[in-house]
Assembly symmetry: C2
DNA sequence: AATTTCAGCGTACATATGTACGCTAAAATA
DNA sequence: TATTTTAGCGTACATATGTACGCTGAAATT
């Protein structure tokens, strides 16, 4: 039932997705992509595109899902590192920066479409980020005994700062990126401190 | 020397700019605008566009400048209100939320082009936001006796959170917006507290 | 009054895009 | 083996876009 045919179809579907990711860059966002160019890079005729996606929109949503998946895998990896005794803030930030380096275009997509032009996209990205926030909030609540509401607001603020820094890091060289990362770590410490004060937490930063 | 002629030219130039702002919305970003449509709404022929701007790009940069101007006027207003004895954080946040309500499309432009597709745009927006950060940093440094470097990082974090919340507020109704604003205020308090702790400041939040 | 300047227009063109339609060959099924 | 299914192709078309070019009439300058 695996079928030579279904296999090949899956393959060109992936070719389309990776062609699309490939065409993202600092100067080329998803809405700049054209069906024809994506098809060209994937090595199929424009009209064959429709065998796989109803729409460029549908392709885009698939891409958001994929980027979200990568992000979640990353979170697991960060959690493992933390469990092995790393500092929470430092480990999380460095893991995130690796993601930006390794999967820039997946990050770019999430970043841009978060405040992008399509409602469906915005919702999809918001869902992915919400995952991130809730997970972190839960961690902060149980681990630092912070009051639930404050844990959530703290997590939200932290994720916002991390994503924003990620966005800046995309266009920076290593030196700038290092400074940026250090600033970010301080800023996260501020939040941890402050939230601890108002929310009655133990401080583990 | 004011000239009926120059006067008229200025008028249609403004018509172009305001037509362009008018066509921005949640589902329509600057890069979706077309020269022809902007010209149409401004009531001139497509080719006449070039009498005013070399490019859509040049129009866009002008728009960024204009939005930046609005933002700076806003800051002055906030400072006046604070001088009249308002709480710093609350006053700033509410003033900012007014801006988002009153000049949504100017804010939309800054917001989107900050991580947008054109290098020149990104630079222009970054400059505007930098203004904001530096001014706030200076205020924090002199007013709360916070150490300079910490004052900067604190200001940066605060501006990031405010802008991000602004972005979310754009698509929200009044109830959601109120909750959002309250969360934001807490988050800013966290930062003020935390930065105060590490940077040796008096707390005025 | 004679001349120059120039904002705005209309025409025209090359180009890129999405997508409807029908065909083909090879894989899947019967 | 005979039949059906379908991924991918090529052709074709309607549409939108940026912009080159030359004209016009009124304001500005001489």
């Amino acid at each position: 039932m695996s079928g030579i045919r279904a296999q090949q179809k899956q393959k060109t579907r992936e070719a389309l997705i990776s062609a699309a990711f490939n065409q993202l860059s600092a100067d080329h966002s998803f809405s700049n992509l054209s069906l024809r160019e994506v098809a060209r890079e994937a090595g199929i005729a424009p009209t064959s595109f429709y065998r796989h996606f109803k729409d460029m929109n549908e392709l885009g949503l698939t891409m958001v899902d994929e980027a979200g998946l990568t992000l979640r895998q990353l979170m697991r990896q960060a959690r493992r590192r933390i469990a092995n005794g790393g500092s929470v803030i430092q480990t999380s930030v460095h893991t995130f920066m690796e993601f930006i380096d390794t999967s820039s275009n997946q990050f770019r997509l999430l970043l841009r479409e978060r405040s992008g032009t399509s409602k469906a996209f915005r919702a999809a990205v918001a869902r992915e980020i919400q995952h991130f926030i809730l997970e972190l909030a839960h961690y902060l609540e149980t681990e630092t005994h912070c009051e639930a509401n404050h844990a959530y607001m703290q997590a939200e603020a932290m994720v916002t700062l991390v994503f924003h820094s990620g966005a800046e890091a995309l266009d920076q060289d290593l030196v700038q990126r290092k400074e940026l990362t250090e600033r970010l770590i301080w800023q996260l410490r501020y939040i941890a401190r402050g939230a601890g004060h108002y929310g009655g937490a133990t401080n583990h930063a």
